[in-house]
Amino acid sequence: MDLDHKGLNGQIINDQIMNKNITDRFQWKDRLLGLILPVALLFAWQGLVNLKLYSDLILVPPLKVVGTLVYLAGTGELTTHILISLQRVLTGFLIGASSGFLLGLLMGLSATINRSLGPFIKALKQVPEFAWMPMIILVFGMDELAKDVFIAIGAFYPMVFNTYQGVSGVPHKYQELARVFDFKNIRFLQKVVLPSALPSILTGLRLSIGLSWMFVVGAELFGTESGIGYMMYSGREMFQIDVVIAGLVVIGAIGFIMNALLKVVENRVLVWNVSVEGGQG
């Protein structure tokens, strides 16, 4: 009887593979549909330019943006800005996410810590991250440390809340299982709590890095001499709208790549989790 189940199971797996083939076969059609909108928008853009309703200062032709991108990439200016921004993101993210993880873990493990820290952190969360910026600048000046702290604040919240949720939400049945197998302290943490909380922690990580990327752009708009946000800021000051749009394209592309990379990691790490789904940004 159980052999039937094995057969059934094999079949399920086969069906999945077949479905994948089917979707592969039809994907080019879907891709084509997906291209309609961007192409239409580009044509509309170019059309508006040709109508000369607006000044060239405000409405530059799409090709000029491409030209600017190529030019900025050619001079190496773009790469420098990108690298500086990425470095800032990484520093701020590491500080914010690791402290968020640690606090979330402690709050999830100890009801007392959660009772005393939880409401305080939730209250702090009510203050939009940007509101801290002027204070940070007054305290640290306009240098790198100010940006790191600001980005860290942004990275902190999703990590602390998602880690807490994952750790405190370990199903009771697994806790009971750990008791039966006599797992305590570190082993319990390592073998039951952390794996069980992993999907939630990874969601926190992805949200956290997304927000860090947003806040680095914000921090750089705030006055600095380098970074992709600065490039856009100075483009605005000098009324080079092509530079501003080029900057938008670049930050969008980098955001997209970071998100995609993290999804790949997530799918790899969570092969066991059939309900893995794209989180919501």
């Binding site: 409401p119 969360k125 203050v127 509101a131 806040f215 605005r236 938008l248 969008g252």
Partner: protein
Amino acid sequence: MFQSRGGKDKSMNISNQIKGWFASLTIPFVLLVLWQVIVSLGYVPAIILPSPEKVFSTFMTNITQNDLLRHVAASLERVILGFIIGALGGFSLGLLMGLSRTAEKIFGPTFHVIRQVPVIGWIPLIVMMFQIAEIPQIIVISLAAFFPMTLNTLAGVRNVRKEYLELAAVNGFKGLKLIRRVIVPAALPSIVTGTTLSLGMSWAVMMAAEFFIDTSYGIGTRIQAGRSSFNMALVLVGIFTVGLIGYGLTITIEALGRAVNNGRDVHKEI
């Protein structure tokens, strides 16, 4: 047996709640004392850390003399207007993509690429294109509200259980009736989540917008004024005010969500 167990939990909850209140007040209290001690010791210059009384008196004079409430009102108006525009747009697009696979194939890819652009990044472009201060503010805020609303409406509509759709089909529900009576109610928990996230994002981005786009009124503008005049007390008053309003918005939207979800088990539905 279940009911009586519920009763037991309830009475435990109340004592836990009281304990919780005390516990949650410990840290703010300790920080306040620490703040006062540090100020009294004079280790940190008053420009960086004004005394608690100074902050409180600044708060009072700002309310009585400097139109703090008018600044708050200006910010709130922007947020609410931008939020309504963005959330309605997001709801419509999410519903459309959720109902029609073709629509999703057309709009989806562009939407998912554009949503990767950090909302703040749009500010310079929008400011250049729409010169009048109030319009770029509202556009940026509505963009912030738009993306989470679209995503969550889409997810909600997509995850409506097949059983409900079959039931609706058996009963001859079609078109608008199907959407109004089955799809939207079934997707409601997810839509409520989207609304909460949208409002949160609007509020957060409003701060940034007020920093980068010049306006005469707004709580962000007030905080900026504090920074440029090196008035840390004013900055702290601003932060405190923003936090208070954020809290108000959060509990309002949470209460709304509870009312709408009407006691159904959200987790089971998802």
